[in-house]
Each structure stands twice: as C-alpha cells, then as structure tokens.
C-alpha cells in the first residue's frame, strides 16, 4: 500500500533531458536586447569620443578643454548645481524634521503637498516660473506696479534664476530620502541625549543630524547627480541668454552640423559628464553602505514629538511658503496662462478663453505628440515591468550567469543623463543597420528603444525590492508540495508580485509621458512627443499653448501617481 502511493508521487522527478527551458530562452533574449540597446551604443560612444576625422586621437578632449563656450558650460554647471544642491538639502532637512518630528498641526496634508514637486517634470517647473518671474511674469508685473518700476525686478533667465528654480524643485529628492530615516530614528538615541543634559535643539545638532548624515549626504549626492544630468530646466531658462550647462551645451553641440566632428566632440563632453556621475555614484555607495551607522534597534517607544510651542507659527509659515513657492504659485501660474487669450495682459473676463486647449486637438503635431507619448509610455511600461520581473527574479532567486554585468548594463542608461543616451543612439543608429537595412534613426522605433534602455532600471529596481521581500520558504513550501520551479513561480511568486508589477508599469509611464531629454534629440516629423511639443512651443514663444500642454501633462502625471498609490496600497508613488 505504502509503496504504491510512493509510486504515484514519483513522476514529479525532474527529467534532465530537456530542450533549453523557457527561462533560458527569455534570459538570452534579454541579454541580446541589452547588447543591442546598451552595450553596443556605449562602446560606440566611447570610441567616437576618441575619433577625429575617422582616426583615433585625443583632439576632441583637447577641444572641450580649450573651447571657451564648452569650458563656460562646465563652470556654469558647477556654479548652478552646487549651490542649489546645498540649498535644497538644507531645505529638505528642515522640512523632514518639521514633518516627522514636531507637533505641527495638519502634518498629513503638508506631507502630501511637499512631495508634489517630485511629480512636476523640471522643465514644466521652469516654464511655470517664467510665467511668474519672466519679463512680463505675474510677480514681476505686480512688483513693478506696486513700486512704480520701469524694469522688471527679477530675471528668471539667469544663473540666479536657475539656482532658485533648481533649489525649490530639487528639495523633493533629498526630502524623500531623509524623511523615512528621520521617522525611523530610534527614539532612545535622542532621549539618552536629553537625559544626559542636552536641550531639544542641542540634541538635534549633536545627535539627530549626525546620525542621519548617511541619509542626508546620500540624498544630497543623488540630487547633485540628478541636477547635473537634467536637461529640461537649463534648456528652458538658459535659452534666451544662451547660458548653457553641460547637458544643454552637449545638446547644442549635437545640433551644430557646421562644426567639424561635432558629434565626436559632444561624445567627449559626455564622457566627462559620465565621469562626474560615476564619481558621485561611487561616493554614494561608499557612504550609504558603511556599517558604522547601523544602530541597534530593540523595541523602543515611539519618539515623542517635539512641542513647538511659540515656534509653531514660524514652522507653519516656513512650510506654507515652501508649498506656496513649489506647488500653489507655479500651478496657478500655468493654469492662468493656459486660460489667457493674450499673454501679458491680466486674466479678466475679456482675456479668458478655453481656445488654447481646443487648439491642442486641432494642431496635427500636438495631437500626434499626445498619441505618441501615450503609446510609447504604455509599451515601455509593459515591456519594462515584465523584463524587470524576469531579470530581478533570476538575479535574486536563480543562479543565472552574468547577472552582475546584466544589472550594470540595465542601470547605466538610467544613471547617465538622457542627453548622453540620445547621443549614443544617434551615433549607433543614424545609419541603417547592416544586412537587415533597418533605418532606426528618425523613426518611432528609436524613441521606443531609447525609452526601454533608459527606464529598464525602474522595473528591475521595483521588482527586486518586491522579490526580496518574499521569503524563500513560501516558494520552498510549494516545491516540497510537488510544484516544479516554473509552477511554483506562477502559482506563488507571481500572484504575490502582481501589485509591484502594476506599480513598475506606472512608475515607468509617469516619467515616460513627460520625457524630454531623449525625445528632444531623437524626435522626427511625425514622431513628436508631448515633451517635444511643449519644448518647441516654448522656444517658439507660443506661451499660452505651452501652458495648456503643460496642464494636460501635469493632469496625466498626477492621475497616474494616484493609480500607483492605489494599486500598491500606498507603498509606491507619492
């Protein structure tokens, strides 16, 4: 009897003579795609940066360190990015402390309002501030009227303007990094300072901030790299007076066909920017992985909130001003502009119109751009989340070969500025691919490939996080019950990961919809994106149309964010 039962169980035994499994096939397809979309373009970019007139040389590097306008762009980048990183980080520390550790009333509302800047694409933020502090901006005009000035007081199209806008939009990144650390800090760490004799303020300076140093420095470095890589904001604010940062300088070099070897020189500039990014990344990983700051956390009582007392109004005012500057004023400015008939005149009965929105659906290229951005981000979302699932699963659970190299290839296009990814694509695919004769450059496909390469990291990161949360015993329990590896994956792991899969999809869709740095170089007639439409409308001075497009983009972004929050039950999204 017993033996018979054993017999029936036996067929589950693995059959070793099998064709390559589905998993292996998927693995090699992904490897192939990565070689084609990341590895090959990277090699081409590096080689081209050392090529002048078809021969190997260092001329491009000599050129970038001697050409005054390129040199100027490097110093501009540092002059703008370093102060705004510092200002934004200080802002972030203060805000995170107020929100996490004090008894400020209405903290829940502030908490949601303070992360909205993270959802606003930087170039939209920059555009909104041109409506406030541009030559005929609302605030400038208002100040001119009050003080009877003939010249506008502020000029947003300047180095100072860039620092200002970068600071008030940038704080969201370190804030998001610092806030959880600030919330989770072991209460007794601070209480032991209090009982030792330190005041609340002294505790903050001596204990809280130093203990949070890894989070603060990590957040600041992330912001530094993000701002160095950003194209949209400096492109909007730098264009009128030709103030270029490194990214915009690369963009203009690419678009200067008269300059001999212009793409190769842009390649050399890119390598320098990549180097800065790599150094930042290295310092970041060194700091955040240091074990020195790991604190033993027993169960400890939840931290008592600092009672602000008479300082309550100072804190309230501070948070209020930040929200006003980063959320309320800019969004109102865009909204007002999108509803004006003639920009520069006040928004009253005779000047109000809905035509700007109607125009979006009348003009061919704006219509197309909305359709293109929509399809591109949906396809990218689907492909990235599924590929991300496979890569993350095989990296964490399986023992596939070369996962380290693969993950590095996936992280690379997300870590370097989009402008550089676009340049690598141009250099690699501007001519038809040999044998098959596919012309990628100037097609919809090049945008899709670039989006996939750029956003793949988001999918892998989201799903890696989710998979490492699933205890391996869940899968093992299914294996011991008789499920094959594949069966256990589909029955146990996949259902548990489904919410994260949805999150990854929307997390890719959100930045893809408002993408600008790749699209601005890779678009072609018929293949415009929303970002390109907004950008070119802004450059052509179609102010009210730009604002209407920006409103549509913001609405989409906020909507998707809400969906992410709902499907991930608040774990992902802002």
């Amino acid at each position: 009897m017993l033996e018979k039962e054993y017999e029936t169980v036996k067929p589950i035994q693995n059959n070793k003579l099998k064709l390559p499994s589905l998993q292996n096939i998927i693995w090699w397809v992904i490897v192939g795609l990565l070689i084609f979309t990341v590895f090959y373009p990277s090699i081409v970019l590096v080689l081209k940066s050392f090529t002048t007139d078809g021969a190997l040389s260092f001329d491009n590097y000599i050129k970038i360190f001697t050409d005054p306008s390129i040199l100027r762009s490097m110093t501009n980048s540092l002059i703008v990015v370093v102060p705004s990183t510092i200002i934004a980080t200080i802002l972030a520390v203060i805000l995170a402390w107020i929100v996490a550790r004090t008894n400020l009333p209405g903290k829940g509302i502030w908490q949601s309002l303070l992360v909205i800047p993270y959802l606003i694409p930087p170039f939209i933020g920059a555009i909104s501030w041109t409506y406030l502090l541009g030559p005929v901006g609302y605030i400038n005009k208002w100040i001119m009227e009050i003080f009877n000035l003939t010249e506008p007081l502020f000029d947003i199209y300047s180095i100072g303007g860039m620092i200002f806008v970068m600071s008030i939009y940038g704080f969201a990144i370190p804030y998001i990094v610092i806030l959880p650390a600030m919330k989770n800090i072991n209460a007794s760490i601070e209480e032991s300072a209090r009982i030792s004799g330190a005041t609340t303020f002294r505790t903050l300076i001596d204990i809280t901030i130093p203990v949070l140093a890894p989070a603060i420095i990590g957040g600041a470095l992330l912001l530094f790299m993000y701002e160095m890589a950003d194209f949209g904001l400096p492109a909007v604010l730098g264009a009128p007076d030709q103030i270029n940062l490194m990214t915009t300088q690369i963009y203009y070099t690419i678009l200067s066909p008269d300059m001999p070897n212009h793409l190769e020189i842009a390649g050399a500039q890119s390598m320098l920017l990549v180097l800065i990014g790599l150094v930042g990344l290295w310092i970041h990983s060194k700091y955040t992985k240091s074990s020195k700051f790991v604190v033993v956390s027993g169960k400890s009582p939840s931290a008592e909130l600092t009672k602000l007392g008479k300082w309550k109004w100072v804190a309230f005012g501070f948070v209020f001003i930040v929200v006003l500057l980063t959320v309320v004023a800019p969004i109102l400015a865009i909204l007002a502009t999108s509803l004006t008939r003639v920009y520069g005149l006040p928004l009253d009965g005779s000047n109000i119109t809905f035509n700007n929105f109607l125009k979006i659906f009348e003009l061919d290229y704006t219509q197309r751009s909305i359709w293109n951005s929509f399809t591109l981000s949906v396809i990218a979302g689907v492909v990235v989340s599924f590929t991300g699932l496979m890569v993350a699963y095989m990296t964490i659970k399986g023992k596939a070969r070369g996962t380290k190299v693969m993950n590095a290839l996936i992280a690379l296009p997300y870590a370097v500025p989009g402008t550089i990814v676009a340049l690598a694509m141009i250099l690699s695919f501007s001519r038809p691919i040999p044998i098959v004769e596919w012309q990628l450059y100037g097609s919809y496909m090049i945008l899709l490939i670039a989006y996939l390469a750029r956003f793949m990291n988001l999918g892998v990161q989201t799903l890696s996080g989710a998979i490492s949360q699933i205890d391996s015993s869940l899968e093992e329990a299914s294996r011991i019950s008789g499920a094959s590896k594949t069966r256990a994956f589909w029955d146990i792991v996949f259902p548990l990961l489904r919410p994260s899969l949805y999150s990854a999809f929307f997390l890719v869709m959100m930045p893809a919809l408002g993408e600008i740095s790749l699209s601005s170089l890779l678009w072609s007639v018929g293949n415009e994106t929303i970002g390109v439409s907004v950008f070119s409308a802004q450059m052509e001075g179609k102010v009210t149309l730009t604002a209407a497009l920006a409103i549509i983009l913001l609405l989409f972004t906020m909507l998707i964010n809400q969906i992410v929050r709902i499907v991930s039950r608040g774990k992902v999204g802002i």
Partner: protein, 350 residues
C-alpha cells in the same frame, strides 16, 4: 531618607489609564525594581520619572525638589533633572566613539578637559571598558554597548539611575554577569537605582525592594522575600514564582489554624482574618506538593517535563490542574494515579 517621592501619579491617554494613582517612596542607595507583565504601566512610570512623559496628575519630588507638580504646574525638562538612564536598546550614538559617548554628559556640563578625561576613564574602568575608548558601536558586542550606556549614565554621578529593561536584549549567561555587575556598581557608588523589567527572576535577584504592577496599578511592594512568601493575591503568587492557585473554601476555624477544602479534600493552614464558608484561593508552590502514596488526595499524571535534577509533573484532580516539582528520582509515568500531600499553602482572598 527618601530620595525620590512619587505622589498620586496618574497618566491617562484619553479614556485609557496607563498608570493609576502611583505612590512610592524610594530610599537612598536602594535598588528598587518595578516588575509586571507588558502593558502594566511600568515603562510609562519610569519615563515619567525621566521626564519624557508628562503625568496627567500627581507630583514627583527628587531630594525635596519638585520635578513635576501638576497642581503648581511644575514640569522640569529631562535635561534639567540630572538623572542617569540606560535604555533598552542601549542608544549608544553611532557617530561617536566610546569615549565621546561616555563623556558627552560632561561636555554638556562644560566640565574642563582634564577632569572630563579623568572622570570618563574612571567610569570606563568601572564598567571594564578601559580598552575600548576609541571603538565605535559597530565594533562592540551587545554586552559592551550595554556597558557604554551604563557608563554614560553614571559619568555625571547622578543621584538617581533609571534602567529600562537593560538586560532584555542580552543572552542568558551575559544577563547573569551584568546583574551582579550592576549590583556591584551600586555598592561601590551608593547610587539609587530604579530598574524596570518583566523578568521576575531579575526582579528577585537584584532588588532591595520590588514593586509589582498590573494594569496600571501597584499590586504589592516589598522585599523579594516578603513578596515570595506572602503574595497579596493570586496575580502576584502566579507572577512571582509561578504558584498553583487553587480554588478553596474555609470549612473550619480553630484557634490559629483553619481548615480549608480544596481539590475535594480538607487541609489545614495558618489562620488569618478569614471567616467561615468564605471562598478564595490557596497558593501552593509546586515544590510544596509532595508525593504521599497514603494520602487520599489522588491525581492523575497528565504531563511530564524533565529538567535534569528535577521533574515537573502536571496532575489532574477532577479537571483542576496542579503542578508538582520533585526530585528526578521519583519516576512517574503519564496516566499514573498518585497520592499527594500539600506541605504548605497560603490563603488568598482574591
């Protein structure tokens, strides 16, 4: 002389009472332990003494000075109280080395450098950490971190030291060492210590006096011996030394002796203020249940827990379970019916 006086201390969170009318006088050089199950209000009480929680009502006085007086609206910030405290999670600051951690309270008090170094080294020697001055938290074991926390609490020579379950994160062997070391440090420094724990053995072995709390109330205060020998109610009897608490009725009063009926049989106990036919409980320590084949009190063995030198048997008396601890030489088997005698029991009204 009384060092710390807590008068009518009550802490309410909305309608929930965390600590209800806590009164205690803690004497100089005393090690007093507040013990009770989790949620009994012991940590809340300690944190009110430290100043991290403001009581709803009451008065806390240290050496005659009000730290808290709700009637006069007095509340002293924790940093002004001059109390030392060791936290459950040690709370050793990860960005400072051992020396800086320990000397921090002196730095805040602007003690000059020479004296700061001298006193820090002295207290590090007291906790056997003199070799670890320059180490950081991540280089220290749990026990060493604990010593850093202790040194930091002692360095400013506080009048009062608060210990918030300081031993609960340590392994059993280390816990025993630390217990005797804390006791030793107290003897050397003459400091007053209030210890909070849920571990009854820790409470019994370390303390001069024990305060037992349950559901926000003080249930009993006394020396470990008093509490063990004369628990006031079944909660204390059960919590300290895990007694059998058996339902009983007084059936006869006779001079200094009374007869009670429990488990269907009559036994004699020393008499207190009891009256005839009163219902209550009798607390019987497991080692006071003796095997006696001639006894009419018969129980069935339902569980056997072997502990090496001793064996704990669970006996069933018509549905009531009684635990018995005997020498390992007495070999009984599950389902054996045996006779037992209760050598000593204590009447409890509730």
């Amino acid at each position: 002389m009384n060092t710390l006086v807590l008068k009518n201390i009550t802490k309410r969170y909305g309608d929930d009472i965390a600590v209800n009318n806590f009164n205690a006088e803690i004497h100089q050089n005393e090690l007093i332990t507040i013990v009770g199950p989790s949620g009994c209000g012991k940590t809340t009480t300690l944190r009110m003494i430290a100043g991290f929680i403001d009581p709803t009502e009451g008065q806390i006085t240290l050496d005659g000075v009000d730290l808290v007086n709700k009637e006069k609206n007095v509340y002293t910030e924790p940093e002004k109280r001059g109390i030392g405290m060791v936290f459950q999670s040690y709370a050793v600051w990860p960005h400072m080395n051992v020396f800086k951690n320990v000397s921090y309270p002196l730095k805040l008090r602007k003690v000059n450098k020479e004296e700061m170094t001298r006193r820090t080294r002295e207290v590090l020697r007291l906790v056997h950490l003199e070799k670890y001055e320059n180490s950081f938290v991540h280089e220290l074991s749990g026990g060493q971190q604990q010593r850093v926390a202790l040194a930091r609490a002692l360095v400013m020579e506080p009048r009062l030291l608060l210990l918030d379950e300081p031993l609960s994160n340590l392994d059993a062997a280390l816990r025993e060492t630390m217990r005797s070391e804390i006791k030793e440090i107290q003897r050397k420094t003459g400091i007053t210590i209030i210890n909070v724990t849920h571990d009854q053995i820790e409470a019994m072995t370390m303390s001069d006096r024990v305060i037992i709390m349950s559901k926000g109330n003080i249930v009993q205060v006394g020396s470990p011996e008093e509490i063990y020998n004369n628990p006031v109610n079944s909660f204390v009897a059960n919590f300290i030394g895990s007694s059998n608490v058996i339902k009983a009725t007084v059936v006869k009063l006779d001079g200094e002796v009374m007869t009670v009926k429990l488990l269907g049989h009559e036994i004699q106990l020393p008499k207190g203020k009891q009256v005839l036919n009163q219902d209550g409980f009798v607390s019987v320590r497991p080692h006071h249940v003796l095997i006696d084949p001639s006894s009419p009190m018969k129980g069935k063995v339902i569980r056997k827990l072997y502990m090496g030198d001793r064996v704990e048997y669970h006996l069933d008396f018509n549905g009531e379970e009684v635990r018995m601890i005997t020498d390992a030489e007495n070999k009984l088997n599950i389902d054996d019916i045996i006779g037992v005698q209760i050598k000593y029991g204590l009447w409890l009204d509730e």
